[in-house]
Amino acid sequence: MKFIQNILDKTRPAVTTGKLKPLYPLHNALETMMFVPDHTAHSGAHVRDSIDLKRTMVTVIFALVPAMIFGMWNTGYWHFTALGVESTLMENFLYGVQILLPMIIVTYAAGLGVEILFSYLRKHPVNEGFLVSGMLIPLIMPADIPLWMVAISTIFAVLIGKEVFGGTGMNILNPALTARAFAFFAYPSWMSGDQVWISGLKSGEGVVDGFSGATALGQYAAGSEAPAIGGQALDAYHAFIGQIPGSIGETSTLAILIGAIMLIASGIGSWKIMLSGVAGALTMGLIFNLVADYAISTDQQVYMALPFWQHLVYGGFAFGIVLMATDPVSAAQTEKGKWIYGFLTGIFCIMIRVFNPAFPEGVMLAILFMNVMAPLIDHYVIQANVKKRQKRAQLATANS
């Protein structure tokens, strides 16, 4: 690390005062990413917490690591199962690395490219917000999606989801989910259906006869009572461990739970949103269980009758509620608002899943919708507080 520090020190005069001034944002980004920045307060005395935005982001990335490692293994496992080939744990993992690594590189290249362009145009240092988005985006894509689609989705998300509103900290939408929503609507044949969740199925090379790659939720939505794939049941146990087809990082509830504990312990993810989100999902699942007998079709009835707690482990619910809904920028900011925000996210997620057969997975749209609603929730929470205090003040003056 010493020699990197030396290079950065040596080039600093050139980019701060010298000829290469336009490159300063890049220099600054590299420096603050690798070392503790030596920035000091310029005026007055300020108490500073040692945790800054960059450290916050890095914690989230650490929380993502279990889901990412499991996702790599899972990608390889399903690929080789579909091919009908015996494979070891290491082979599975390496295949996943081979799939995920290019996606991560492409995402960072595309996203940081836009970010650096904007920081140059706006003359501010590169924000660290993209560190997390760049890691999240590959994890919520199907394994076989072409890299250029990942790049375009990322560019769209950074441009429309973030920079238009003024950059990191100003966005109303979660950038990673914006990227996924864009890919979902722009290239539906790569983002939905039963062909895309397992690597190699879409190209159809050497696949075992009759192997269909539908996810558990997809099969429930189609009215199957006991979803299975390649002879293995897609039940709640496998879903909890994560041994089910799905987007790369979202399958394992266990790995996400480890990440959730890290986020809550470090105080970075809001436990209020996570808890109320789970509560909302359970409530809606319970309501569906109760009214399942009155469903209009038998397909729907089967899906509604799915035990309410099982909604938590299937699909991207856990990933969404732990890592997406808790995004501090796009979520509700007020403490009371967080409860409402999380609860409604959970409710809408299950509602979209069950009611709309076109979207077997509902957490993406639910979170994006609640992102848009978050400022409204905050507004009413603050107004309620203002009214309460006004009343109290009036009472106090009346009594005195």
Partner: protein
């Protein structure tokens, strides 16, 4: 009658004086009906999936606006103020029916694609807005120029949006496959390109219009507001 003498004086100025030229050029950029006044958005979102309907729509709006503006301007001194909106509606409705019938007779396919939106030209805010704000107080020639400018500003945005949506959404321009054939995997499709399905959805039209507004505002200094 001071107003009358003023009008006589105005009619003597050259047909394309600087003021009159501004009537045409203003709505193209600094006072664009779609991107600045934010009028006529619904049709811009709904019929811009392909270039052909967008162009037909622009021409229809131009015909209705130009004829209507001239008619209202000719009648401006005899329209009683209290029922002017009804008079305007009658004028625009009759013109729209004419346009609709012509489209049905000569370009039936496009007229089907435009469906209800030709009829909805009646409620297009640009038209009522120009009648109300301009034709009621200006001479027929000026009103005509104003209509040309506004219809051009509207059409320009429509065609630009439709160009990007058709090119990226269907890979065609005027129905001609410029990027190759998606089904046979020729041209760009052979190397893995795919049409962007979101471009065919109305929300993307909103985003494209927004991008145009963004570019326009950052280029035109007078539009930048603090």
């Amino acid at each position: 009658m001071s107003t009358e003498t003023q009008e006589v004086a105005k009619s003597r100025e050259p047909l394309f004086s600087k003021k009159n030229r501004k009537l045409i050029s203003d709505p193209l950029n600094e006072n664009n009906p779609i991107t600045v006044q934010v009028l006529g958005i619904c049709s811009a979102l709904a019929i811009t999936v392909k270039l052909e309907p967008a162009i037909v729509m622009s021409i229809s709006v131009f015909v209705v606006l130009a004829a209507g503006n001239v008619i209202i301007s000719l009648m401006r001194n005899i329209i009683p103020n209290r029922i002017r909106i009804i008079v305007q509606l009658v004028v625009v409705a009759s013109l729209v029916i004419l346009v609709d019938q012509v489209l049905k007779a000569f370009v039936y396919d496009v007229s089907k694609q435009l469906s209800v939106f030709v009829g909805l030209i009646i409620t297009n805010c640009i038209i009522m807005g120009r009648f109300e704000a301009f034709a009621l107080g200006n001479t027929p020639w000026k009103s005509f120029l104003d209509a040309v400018g506004n219809a051009a500003g509207y059409g320009f945005i429509l065609v630009t949006v439709a160009f990007f949506r058709e090119l990226l959404g269907s890979g065609t321009l005027f129905g001609i496959e410029v990027l190759g054939n998606a089904a046979d995997k020729t041209g760009l499709y052979a190397i893995g390109y795919e049409n962007n399905g979101m471009m065919l959805l109305p929300p993307m039209a909103l985003i494209v219009v927004a991008l145009i507004i963004w570019v326009q505002r950052s280029r035109t200094k007078s539009l930048i507001e603090e």
